[in-house]
Assembly symmetry: C2
Homo-oligomer: 229 residues x 2
Amino acid sequence: MLYPAESRIMLAIDCCIFGFDGENLKILLIKRNFNPEKGNWSLMGGFLRADEDLNAGAQRILHELTGLNNVYMEQLYTFGNIDRDPVERTVSICFFALINIHEHDHELAKSQNGYWFTLGKIPPLIFDHETIVAKALSQIQYKAALHPIGFELLPERFSIPQLQNLYEAIYGFALDRRNFRRKILSTGLLLDTGEKNENSSTKKAVLYKLDQAKYEKQFNAFHYFMSMK
Amino acid sequence: MLYPAESRIMLAIDCCIFGFDGENLKILLIKRNFNPEKGNWSLMGGFLRADEDLNAGAQRILHELTGLNNVYMEQLYTFGNIDRDPVERTVSICFFALINIHEHDHELAKSQNGYWFTLGKIPPLIFDHETIVAKALSQIQYKAALHPIGFELLPERFSIPQLQNLYEAIYGFALDRRNFRRKILSTGLLLDTGEKNENSSTKKAVLYKLDQAKYEKQFNAFHYFMSMK
DNA sequence: TCAAAAGTGTTCAAGCTACACCCATGA
DNA sequence: TCATGGGTGTAGCTTGAACACTTTTGA
């Protein structure tokens, strides 16, 4: 038994891949060397295969461009307006990924025509991809305000000023150093590695790493309206 | 030009429809009188039509069961594991809707075999629908903790104790009356109608209504980690 | 020794928690 | 007049916001 045929629709997966270079929040886009819209910029994407789950498809597409596996990735939203793809109706299940920008396979990305763009300096994109990017950014801003996802964009060992730069890049405004530090340390998620950031040419900042156990346990913890017990 | 055929997949839309009867949070399920899984319980759903946007499809499906239009509804998540539907691979774009349980078309719901179940007393559901319901509930708990969505489940005029009952039903534990009232009133979202709840057989509670302008303006306002300017 | 970034403490205001008594209503 | 649920105020504590000076480092 099968369902009636008329409802079968093209299913795409698109990925908003974010990275942080220490100063700006960036997104990885590709210049298409294939049709449709050859020569124009788009998110990395592809069609869902018949034999793969949604997350597997998203990880595959991310891997094809970055060489990375086991990356932080979340389903963002499904876009499906009837005319969003002029070739044929295509519903796109969109994900966003947070990667350590220094760890991905630069050669691979280059071979796929992948380039990093700073948010706010993004070229025109095909289809509704600008809408998707806007939604992804707003989701990251939302989620990072409540949950410790920022660490996914940093190296394993990082300083508190690095983390603060990241937050400032995500939200686009400056934060108070003393309050930021107190807030972050009060979560208890950071472990002092005893090492210092040797790259600095001024005072070297202490490097921390995530307390993985606490991170996983506390990840979803959080409440606000709720604390009115 | 069209895309290659192999990626066309069945696309369903499923709706978690929530209501509140004054005491319990409830969900509207249907006893299927059609195949597959005839005689078993499921969410209300249907296939996406070639000529409708996703939201339109969701509103159509909601309308078919409740007779309602212009209901609060959000895209929840897209479920697409390859074996989630034994008939044929089907990706389901899921929505949740919050309705005023007293306003829907009871006859229509009945004619579609729709019945309300209290959360926690839900029968076994087909496919992965139990997962979907769990995700929807968790999303409502999450969102209601941060944004004023609870009002969507109440009549236009409602008392603060009614609202408190709703919150207690959503989270499953009791709240302090005085603190709850102060918190809710401090949002400035409520307007005193001057009327009282005539249904009560004890002291009649004052009825409020939403300040629509403020509601729309403040809906997305909210921050937590963020308030560390 | 200077410039640049890291690190540290305190004070004030606002908001949250906990908690007990009186009021209105209908039976 | 009693039982039920609605309505109110305060004190203590926690948390967030604002803010300035000292330390480390390499040029």
